[in-house]
């Protein structure tokens, strides 16, 4: 009786164990599935063109499958039709430039390697059937090793990596097939033709069905990177100088947006490489200076490194002298504001492909702001100040000056781009800029209370020389209020 009940209990325990294990497994699977679904949603929301690209890829593959499905076509190409399918799967990429690059690489490499392979087969055949496999094997070894090595050379890797791979593949295929297939020439022609069909399908769908241009992406990326830098400067101004005045901190996304600029080198370079293959599209001509965007990107990165150092000083635990901060606050804020406006104007100049005239004005203003800041630092007395509490403010001011010097370089580079790419000339929108900063500013940094800082009004007013006197009065008013 006791043994029986013990066995029953054990069985129950075993069942219970199994049941719990199954339940845990189901829970885990459910959570994994939900995670996967949320990943899918996030990926689609981050760039809806990805969904369209997937449908385009499905369409391209289904289209070349017709070579199998439609009897007369199958009659012509036979099993060689799989090469069209293989080509589509291997060369169809997200951007038109990447697809074109791979297609051109594949096309040229296939023709070149095919021709060389045929030559090799003919040569081996002349030397006699006994040595044929040795000659072909040696040729395959030498060319495969050579091409593999060439893929390490940076210039080749950047633009012709896929071509080198296809060269090895085609040469080896033709050479080894030459050992067995007698009608090697017909066979090679048939294969080249199906590869051309596959490539053409990819190119047509890539270029004409909702095309994604690498050039346009690069253009937008550089413009948005400059905007992120501008937003950081505005956010920093607000967080460093105004939060102590009792305002809310700007959003984290604004203050950390520049972080994506830090590591943008690889994507900028690959987009520029793909853009090089693209035909004229939209507002971009055939020989648009894509490499120049990479230069601007590098300067933006230089700037973002400085911001990374600045960002550290936002930590509230760093003890600073409020009195000293107050003394350099106005020129620092003006500097941040004008530099951020210059960056925004540069970003907008790239986006609209117009000459960066507005930026030039802000550049002049922030050069003056640097002078003001230097003057403020020179004339400020440190008597009675604790040096350790002054240092963080001095460091911030010093890095700000360095960072804004980067903005000047970016301006020069964008001006050069505007010259190279024939950007449109437009009249400077002085009057508009002078009125709009409030809206622009408030659009980005949330939440900002209704009581808008006099500093911004001041900066906005300072943007127009005609209102300078008024600004001085306002500033005076503010100083009086503070006191």
């Amino acid at each position: 009786m006791d043994i029986e009940s013990a066995t029953q209990a054990r069985e129950c325990g075993l069942c219970g164990g199994w049941w719990r294990w199954l339940k845990a497994l189901a829970e885990k699977s459910k959570s994994k599935f939900l995670n996967f679904m949320s990943d899918i949603m996030k990926t689609a929301q981050a760039d809806p063109r990805r969904v369209i690209h997937s449908l385009k890829a499905g369409l391209a593959i289904t289209l070349v499958s017709l070579l199998y499905f439609i009897c007369p076509l199958y009659g012509i190409f036979g099993v060689e039709a799989i090469w069209a399918l293989l080509t589509v799967v291997l060369v169809f990429e997200f951007t038109a430039g990447a697809t074109l690059s791979k297609c051109m690489n594949r096309g040229v490499a296939t023709l070149l390697a095919g021709a060389l392979g045929l030559e090799g087969v003919i040569l081996a055949q002349r030397l006699g059937n006994k040595v044929k496999p040795f000659v072909l094997g040696t040729l395959v070894f030498i060319l495969a090793a050579g091409s593999t090595f060439c893929r390490f050379i940076p210039r080749i890797k950047a633009r012709y990596d896929y071509g080198a791979m296809i060269f090895i593949l085609t040469f080896s295929l033709v050479a080894v097939s030459g050992q067995r297939v007698d009608g090697i020439f017909d066979f090679a022609c048939q294969r080249v033709f199906t590869i051309l069909i596959g490539g053409a399908t990819c190119v047509v769908i890539s270029l004409f069905v909702c095309p994604v241009w690498a050039g346009q992406d690069l253009h937008n990326l550089i413009a948005s990177n400059l905007e992120k830098l501008a937003n950081f400067l505005q956010g920093f101004e607000c967080a460093y100088f105004e939060c102590s005045e009792g305002k809310d901190n700007p959003q984290k996304s604004v203050l950390e947006g520049y972080k994506s600029v830090l590591n943008s080198k690889a994507s900028e370079e690959s987009l520029a490489n793909f853009a090089w293959w693209e035909p004229a599209h939209g507002r971009f001509r055939l020989f648009h200076p894509w490499t120049h965007y990479v230069k601007i990107g590098a300067l933006a990165r230089q700037c973002s490194y400085k911001f990374e150092t600045l960002h550290r000083y936002l930590t509230p635990e760093i003890h600073v002298s409020l009195e000293f901060k107050g003394k350099v606050q106005e020129p620092c804020k003006k500097l941040c504001w004008e530099a951020s406006q210059a960056l925004k104007a540069l970003s907008s100049s790239i986006r609209t492909m117009t000459e960066p005239c507005d930026a030039k004005r802000h550049l002049e203003n922030f050069k003056n702001a640097i002078k003001d800041l230097k003057l403020a630092l020179e004339t400020t007395s440190l008597e009675g100040e604790e040096l350790m509490a002054v240092i963080p403010v001095v460091t911030v001011a010093s890095i700000l000056i360095e960072a804004t010097k980067c903005v000047e370089k970016i301006h020069d580079s964008v001006s050069e781009l505007s010259h190279l790419a024939h950007f449109r000339t437009v009249k400077s929108k002085v009057s508009v800029s002078a009125e709009k900063p409030h809206l622009l500013y408030r659009g980005i940094i949330k939440p900002v209370g209704e009581s808008y800082g006099a500093g911004h009004v001041l900066s906005a007013l300072q943007a127009t020389d005609s209102l300078e006197i008024c600004a001085k009065h306002l500033s005076q008013l503010r100083v009086n209020n503070c006191c």
Copy 2:
């Protein structure tokens, strides 16, 4: 007569023109060829393993070509042998991890897609011959679009991108072949078998013929990045504080070595991904914490951003107060020296896979150096100093403190790695370190004159508490000498 000579002269001119054109073309081709050869030499010298890898790739391709060249083997596999060749060309990569990753991806994706494709074909066959192509076409479209979309999901892209591509390829191939080939099962088996042969060839050559381990590369990369940071700090100390004392500048390569750390994110992440696939090798076990290296790499990058800001202050045109610089010089130099020694000790701890005990000592020393520097800054009187000339020095000191705080974080992360990866415990080499800094220092920063800075002797001496009194005397001696 006149007309004749004019014609002759024109012909001569034309010939001369052609000749010049041909000559220019030959010159250009020659210079291009020489450039290409120099590129080849540079690529091979940068990493001689590339030459070996190319030979390995040639060997692998020639080996699978034997399936064609040897009659009995060709009898078994027939033209399906090209799939072995295709597999080798597509999956053979530089590191063993990358090759394994691609092989596993290809293997699993081929089996999965093959099984699903066969299921699809059987289903379509049951529904009748008329609807078969429509069913198969729809299946191909849905799965191709779905898999293409999955390749955008970051987690899948990082590890299974190639697998997703092969899944699309195999499923489409099996599904469309199912429309035409009757013995689809035999045909699929034959193809899977040749792909397995290709994959196995790659894996065997990759793992057993001069293997290049992604894990080892990642390990070395992180260690060498830390060393580059250490070299920068030493070089900076020398260039900023000692050149004014009449010494030569350290080499540019030492001062700019850290720049490669700025953009190392992509390579670190891809190496960590590949290392994940590698079996235990050398001193690395199967579940070595590769992702932890990526964390250390990120911290090293953080540090390098600060160095980028510091580097700007080496420009000689920045006007600084030599008097003030002199006041903070000693603690700054000590800070640089100790932080660089800590970084070197951490780098060496990673390289030798031993616990970072030496680094801990330098860490303590540089914490003291920070205190000394802060004390020097606090007690320094600014009376009579021009603030604008003091600012760059203050900024440098401030960024140095921030940068060395990064070193502390790197130390913590390396300690964690040493715990996770079971690094060996060794006795701290206090006595050795105390004597060796000169040699280490001189090995890196060239050319350094014979008259070695007392500051270094001081720092080296300060490294051992027992010799502290002696150091003080030396320091006193130096101050007296300077006076």
